[in-house]
Amino acid sequence: METATLDGKAIALGDAYKHAAKILSGAAFPLVAGLGADVAGARAAILLAERLKGAFDHLASRETLADIDVKRSFGMFTTTANEARLRGDCVVLIGPGLTRAWPGMLERLALAEPPRRGAQAQQPRKVIWVGPEGDEANAVPGAKVIPASVQELSGVLAAWRARFGGRPVALGAEKVALIDGLVETLRNARFGVFVWSASTLDPLAIEMMQALVIELNATTRFTGVHIGGRSGASGVTQAAGWMTGFPPRTGFGRGYPEHDPWRFESSRLVDSGEADAALWISAFDGEKPSWSRADIPLITLAPAHTSPSRGLFIKVGQPGVTHDAVLMSQETGGMTLRKASAPTDAPSVAQAIGAIMAEVSEGAWR
């Protein structure tokens, strides 16, 4: 396997870095996208975007921004998975595919075991799952399953909140009685936890759920555990936050960071022709860009098996697999070091970008 290719043909790694720097320096508005990387890779990529006066976006920023939008324009109660496991006496899982978004969820939350701390310690844990997919909920014995499609989730949460406040809903008496029973369970919880993933819950539904959390907190304790996006989204967002003050979809066109979730959305930037060169980073799994234009000069940093036939490709190692990597851990809600499980000598994202950056001189463009 070649370590670098240009339109499918092998080139020397040093030439690849020089060529990448030339493409990015010559562009009017270069884009650093994908950003599927560990914290060191994200730091290097954001620094590069800043030096190039370009923009950066993460491939899962739609999901990340759904949670952030609620956090910054409304408010959000969250806790760590470990706290939920130790104290949560009532756990409400919302939406399908949670175990896909976070494969270790059931093991970490230990839903089948009773909570170990708090007022309800050693009492059976109540688990409610709204709209699981297939037999996903079978893995939690005793879980109460409320069937709902993804489209219905926001309506279900709205009806719960209306009945929690004692306000009317346009539903039959039988359904209202069911909702009232469920709301009573939430009210009687001593440490309740909602678990969701923004991949299936839209920002308005998340806001509805968090508003219910606020109302529940008037008389009891309720909080949430949100499942972060794929390809290191949470860690990259943290790095972007401490470096620029903003999450991904931030641009440096005027020399200072400007955040605009519409303007700096990577697919829109490419498809509208505003971005005229792109660096695509997807070091975890080699996910492909979501834009439709194929004529943009493209540099891809991805694992070996994803070598694209078009544009410049530089093979990089996988964070936590071929390289030691600092990643945001869903399990602990903090940054953790993942030791490499199968080290290789491929460059890491940070090393590859560092090598490209070395070929980009400050202010050299145009």
Binding site: D69, A159, A162, G165, R167, P168, G253, E274
Partner: protein
């Protein structure tokens, strides 16, 4: 006297920030000074003179002959008593935080048109993008005054967190019309797709066509509302179809009961 005119020479190569081209910010500047104003938002410099031919005139009205979907922040912070007309399209955030005055756009507008509007009258003859009159990322409230008339269609999330003022959409509205309304009024004469009025606190949404609004909107019956007829009279000159809609018998759905239930959706019965 003829208006102060910017005639488009060429499509801008990148997005441009036109917030500097409002009457109060142009006042006292010579044509040469105006032509040197930097509009670019990327590392490529784009000056007024590169994009426009500037013809001096009465600054009460600024006219753009030719528009572009890359014209961002047109008429931002416009002051009362002034007017801006665009013979073409505009980009994002047209009329952002305008304090008053009048903006007319002959073509389409991008996302976040009339965002944070405080009192301007904004008319878009074509379609608008998503988040019409909505807040920018992280802001707590949307438009807080003024009147916005869209003759065409509106994108998703029109009227998000509207706080005060009137929105008229004569065409169709995208998903999540009137989400998180705080107060104010939205009228839609076309079809409103998908969820309507989710998390509505105490705003009014008037729809020409009925629909299913979910379990947290409760049917309150059909009414001949006196206020709606008064409101219709005040809207007659700006949007005749909206005035006609308000003059009809309206069925009221109270909601969103998930929030307070003080808001409403009115539909022509």
């Amino acid at each position: 006297m003829k208006p102060f005119t910017f005639t488009l020479r060429q499509e801008p190569p990148q997005r441009v920030d036109l917030s500097a081209l409002t009457p109060d910010r142009l006042a006292g500047k010579s044509v040469a000074q105006i032509e040197a104003i930097e509009l670019g938002v990327t590392r490529i410099s784009t000056k007024v003179g590169d994009l426009f031919k500037v013809s001096e005139g009465d600054l009460k009205t600024v006219r753009f002959e030719g528009g572009s979907s890359r014209f961002d922040l047109l008429g931002a912070k416009l002051l009362p008593g002034f007017a801006i007309h665009v013979e073409g399209d505009v980009g994002a955030q047209c009329g952002r935080l305008a304090k008053g005055g009048r903006i007319t756009v002959a073509g389409n507008a991008g996302p976040h048109a009339a965002s944070g509007n405080l009192g301007a009258e904004i008319e878009i003859k074509g379609d608008v993008g998503e988040f019409l009159a909505g807040p920018l990322a992280g802001e707590l409230a949307g438009m807080a005054g003024g009147r916005v008339i869209v003759r065409g269609k509106a994108g998703e999330r029109a009227g998000d967190r509207l706080r005060r003022g009137i929105l008229v959409i004569e065409g169709d509205a995208g998903e999540d019309l009137g989400a998180r309304l705080i107060a104010g009024t939205i009228l839609v004469l076309g079809e409103a797709k998908g969820r309507v009025g989710y998390l509505n606190k105490r705003g009014s949404i008037v729809l020409a066509r009925g629909g299913c609004f979910g379990s947290t909107y409760v049917d309150c019956g059909a009414h001949e509302l006196t206020f709606a007829r008064l409101f219709a009279r005040s809207l007659r000159d700006h949007s005749a179809p909206a005035a006609d809609l308000l003059s009809r018998k309206l069925r009221r759905y109270g909601g969103d009961t998930a929030v307070f239930g003080k808001g409403e959706i009115l539909t022509a019965d």
